[in-house]
């Protein structure tokens, strides 16, 4: 028996990942998380809960945070994906990344890429959020190490810095 004869037809997709055009042949059931990790070797998005509760697999799809564990790779066709690997600019850390380190908002690091990308979207919408806004925005991202306070502080601080940069430029 030809093992592939019963497999559903594969599809070609094209998308942009971290600014780089990517073309690939995928299986229809392939998850975006597996696509990024197995095909592209981008390991920053992590698998934990598998049911869209923890946020550790978060990536930005056209700027919107999505759980890559519950998104099909096919849904990302012709769109822009940003993973944590694409955030630092030519090796220079993003202000959010700096702030996470400075505030000790990183412990084991397993939640960190999801936390940073989810926060990035908030800062684009609300340039200098107050702690309450960050707290409510991050309620879909679990962290088991930090107790969250430092993460919130880091995002508030990064927002303040970005707003100041924006104002001065």
């Amino acid at each position: 028996m030809d093992e592939r004869s019963e497999a559903p037809a594969r599809r070609r997709i094209a998308l942009v990942v971290n600014g780089n055009p990517v073309e690939a042949e995928i299986e229809p059931r392939e998850l975006l998380l597996d696509f990024l990790r197995h095909r592209l070797g981008l390991m920053g998005a992590k698998r934990s809960c598998d049911v869209q509760v923890c946020g550790s697999c978060t990536v930005l799809l056209d700027g919107e945070p999505v759980s890559a564990c519950c998104t099909l790779a096919y849904e990302a066709r012709d769109r822009q994906v940003l993973t944590i690997e694409g955030l630092a600019d030519a090796g220079r850390l993003h202000v959010l990344q700096e702030a996470f380190i400075e505030h000790a908002a990183v412990q084991c690091g397993f939640c960190t890429s999801g936390m940073i990308l989810t926060s990035l979207e908030l800062l684009r919408e609300v340039p200098a959020p107050v702690p309450e806004q960050v707290r409510s925005h991050l309620k879909g991202n679990l962290c088991r190490c930090t107790g969250y306070r430092r993460i919130i502080d880091a995002v508030v601080d990064a927002g303040r810095r970005l707003a100041a940069e924006g104002a001065s430029s």
Partner: protein
């Protein structure tokens, strides 16, 4: 060591920060080994059964499948593992003892193929009567889960193991004074029965293992906290010399005890052995939940005091549900027994703690085990006695708390912390003594946790020819900041900038022996080994310089990467080149920690007493039973904070886990089958559950056995806040006997109190 420190005591940035914010940090699941297959596990759907037949032929024929492992493939191995008691088969042999037990495993070329093949395996189970609860397991005539002689594991570490009756896995007893007589002579006695639920550790990275057999033996990349203990167990299971088993641990995505001791490694190794290729098994959350958990518990406790406010005696019986296999149950029972009396001056105290086998998933370690189980109970009774004696709960504790140097339990390490000072601080932090709004209660909780596990660690430092250093230590970095703290200690001792030091992950082929990573021991014990390794290198450098200058060592000093005599200096690279007579070479330093007196046994321990001190201010909604956390506080009584920011971060995380344990976390079993096995149904704290205000208070009395007088933290805050939330609710007249304090449970209790005519809680 000079009294003044430059790097130690400062909050330098985490050394792994950049890797972790850029996604570059590698966890086991991020590694790809050539030829690697993907493994999936078939797990028993029933809690107790004989396996009549397993048919894997269909699965073996499926596309992509390379191997299917079942019990009969374990020939040539010792199929049982367990560091305390060797009772857990690598994969079920002829019987399953819990729903979720691995019955078979498939290795295939991709995950989907492996998952499909698992469904193609057919198993005939002949169900056996099950004992899925403490009550059924302890009943007269209950079926026995384990027969025959008990085989001690390599690291049971608790003295002689006895074959216990029925389903008792381990019994810990401690007794001093004549309890019955003391209680009879007391004025006030409180007594009650309490329960604590099963809880899931939820480290965000579930257990993941890659195992690869090669011509030179077995290599394992594992998300494990204790690489050396895993190596020893694997070597024993597969009959290999230890040198032929290599355990490598990159970063861990949290552990909290869920990855302590041996978990998925034997199964993955056996599957790889059968497949003849490397295999990776990554647990999903539902699988992680049936791999290990926190013990649920039932407890009876009685505490007595005099009417003028002196504690007299305590009596306690504890039954811990350790599930189908012992895992760390014996030690959990022992630490629970140690925590039960609480840090008070008793005339008499008597504790019995039993770990009990049941047909549920094995229970093992979780942050502050034993202490979290018991402290809230003891503290609830202390509060009840204070109320009856008409004394303020903080004042009552002040009168009765042990002082530094006093005996905590007969023969063990005396108290090495200032509990009176600690409780005073948390009380102040939650507004003790200030007027309270209606329906707001305040509570404090004080307890001790036997910390440090066994005091054995070693470390090495290689000072390179250019004056940079590589630190070799087998502590695993699971978020606690061990690599950063070790960097600081080595930087301090060698007068190097932290950027010039690198700490790698554990690799048993290269990094030296360390007993384990857990029990708040890394900074204290591995840190001390690092300090000694650095001092060793320093001594060698001073000797070389002394030789060059013809001066005694005492005339020399080390600073800024060089040895100095007055205004003359020789840099480390210069000294190393002098020593070897050419550019290149390295100075290797070694450091070790072992018991300073006695044998380091459990009875003589612990390495230090970790304080579990918490304060809480809660608001209660009497209509819904909901508890709102207005303020929480905990004390990190660390002796010396090597990195204050990391200390606070650790405690804040522990505190929030305490919130989950106190208020809503609970694994639910129906007839031994887990029914809330996903993060949709098992809730852990989110940003919505944070207290309005939280303070971690650092106390530095340099009274620890670690470097610079340090001692560990990271566990006590959890047990402390659980106790404080319970006593804060009791402050409102609502005494609780079962956790978690879910809205429904509190609401029912309120209605019960109402029916009894106890004062109504209304605005």
């Amino acid at each position: 060591m000079s009294a003044e420190t430059h790097v130690v005591g400062t909050s330098i940035r985490r050394v792994d920060g950049v890797e972790k914010v850029t996604g570059a940090a590698r966890f086991v699941g991020d590694l790809v080994v050539p030829e690697m297959l993907y493994g999936r596990v078939l797990r028993s759907p029933v809690p107790h059964a004989r396996i009549a037949r397993i048919d894997v032929t269909a699965a073996e024929r499926m596309p992509g499948v390379v191997a299917v492992l079942v019990g009969r493939d374990l020939e040539g191995t010792d199929p049982f593992y367990g560091h305390a008691i060797k009772d857990r088969p690598i994969v079920a042999l002829d019987r399953v003892r819990f729903a979720g037990e691995p019955v078979a495993a498939v290795a295939a070329t991709d995950e989907a193929a492996a998952a499909e093949a698992v469904w193609a395996i057919t198993v005939d189970y002949e169900e056996l009567p099950a004992v899925p609860t403490l009550e059924t397991a302890l009943a007269d005539g209950a079926v026995r889960l384990h027969e025959g002689p008990l085989r001690p594991g390599l690291f049971h570490g608790l003295g002689e193991l006895r074959r216990e009756e029925g389903n008792i896995c381990y019994h810990y007893r401690s007794s001093r004074g004549e309890v019955e007589r003391a209680i009879a002579g007391a004025d006030l006695v409180v007594e009650g029965e309490y329960t604590f639920p099963a809880v899931y550790q939820y480290a965000m990275e579930p257990h993941t293992v890659i195992a690869a057999w090669g011509v030179d033996g077995l290599t394992v990349w594992a998300s494990c906290q204790h690489p050396y203990l895993v190596r020893a167990e694997l070597a024993e299971l597969f009959g290999l010399p230890q040198v032929s088993v290599r355990v490598i641990v990159p970063y861990l995505g949290g552990g909290f005890g869920s990855k302590s001791y041996t978990k998925m490694e034997p199964l993955t190794a056996a599957l790889s052995r059968k497949a003849g290729r490397p295999v990776r098994i990554a647990n999903r959350v539902d699988e992680a939940m049936v791999t290990t958990r926190r013990h649920n518990m039932r407890c009876w406790m009685r505490t007595a005091a005099t009417s003028d406010g002196a504690v007299v005696a305590r009596q306690c019986k504890i039954w811990l549900d350790t599930g189908a296999y012992a895992d760390n149950g014996p030690r959990v029972a022992a630490t629970a027994g140690d925590a039960a009396p609480g840090p008070y001056r008793w005339q008499a105290a008597e504790v019995d703690a039993w770990a009990v086998y049941t047909n549920t998933p094995p229970a093992g370690s979780y942050r502050a085990f034993g202490a979290t189980h018991l402290i809230w109970i003891g503290e609830a009774q202390i509060d009840a006695l204070a109320r009856r004696a008409g004394l303020d709960p903080v004042e009552f504790r002040h009168r009765n708390l042990l002082r530094p140097g006093e005996e905590v339990r007969p023969g063990g390490k005396p108290l090495d912390a200032d509990l009176v000072g600690d409780v005073t601080k948390v009380a102040a932090a939650v507004g003790w003594g200030k007027p309270k709004p209606p329906l707001v209660g305040r509570g404090v909780s004080v307890g001790l946790l036997a910390a440090g596990a066994n005091p054995v660690s070693t470390a090495a430092i290689r000072l390179q020819a250019d004056g940079t250093a590589v630190l070799l230590v087998s502590t695993t970095e699971m978020g606690q900041g061990a690599r950063t703290v070790f960097t600081q200690i080595a930087a301090e001792e060698l007068a190097l900038r932290p950027e010039r030091i690198r700490v790698m992950g554990a690799d048993t082929q290269f990094t030296p022996y360390d007993r384990s990573t857990g029990a708040s021991r890394s900074t204290t014990l591995a840190g001390k080994a690092v300090l000694r390794a650095a001092a060793d290198v320093r001594g060698q450098l001073l000797d070389i310089a002394a030789g060059v200058w013809g001066l005694p060592r005492s005339a020399l000093a080390i600073r800024d990467g060089a040895v100095w005599h007055e205004t003359e200096s020789l840099s480390f690279p210069t000294l190393i080149a002098r020593h070897f007579g050419m550019p290149g070479g390295e100075m290797i330093g070694r450091g070790e920690v072992r018991p300073e007196r006695g044998t380091g046994s459990y009875a003589e321990g612990p390495v230090f007493w970790e304080v579990c001190v918490g304060g809480a201010e809660v608001a209660l909604d009497p209509e819904t039973g909901r508890i709102h956390l207005r303020r929480l506080a905990s004390v990190a009584d660390v002796g010396k904070a090597i990195n204050p920011q990391l200390v606070e971060a650790q405690d804040e995380g522990a505190c929030l886990q305490g919130v989950g344990n106190a208020l809503f976390e609970e694994m639910l079993f129906e007839d031994g089958v887990l029914v809330n096995g996903s993060l949709l149904e098992y809730r852990v704290p989110t940003t919505a559950d944070m207290p309005d205000e939280y303070r971690s208070i650092i106390v530095e009395n340099a009274d620890g056995p670690g470097p610079y007088g340090a001692k560990g933290v990271g566990e006590g805050a959890l047990a402390g806040v659980v106790g404080a939330i319970v006593t804060a609710l009791a402050d409102l007249g609502v005494e609780m006997y079962d956790l978690p304090l879910s809205p429904e449970r509190v609401w029912r209790r309120l209605r019960e109190l109402e029916a009894q005519g106890t004062v109504l809680l209304r605005d």
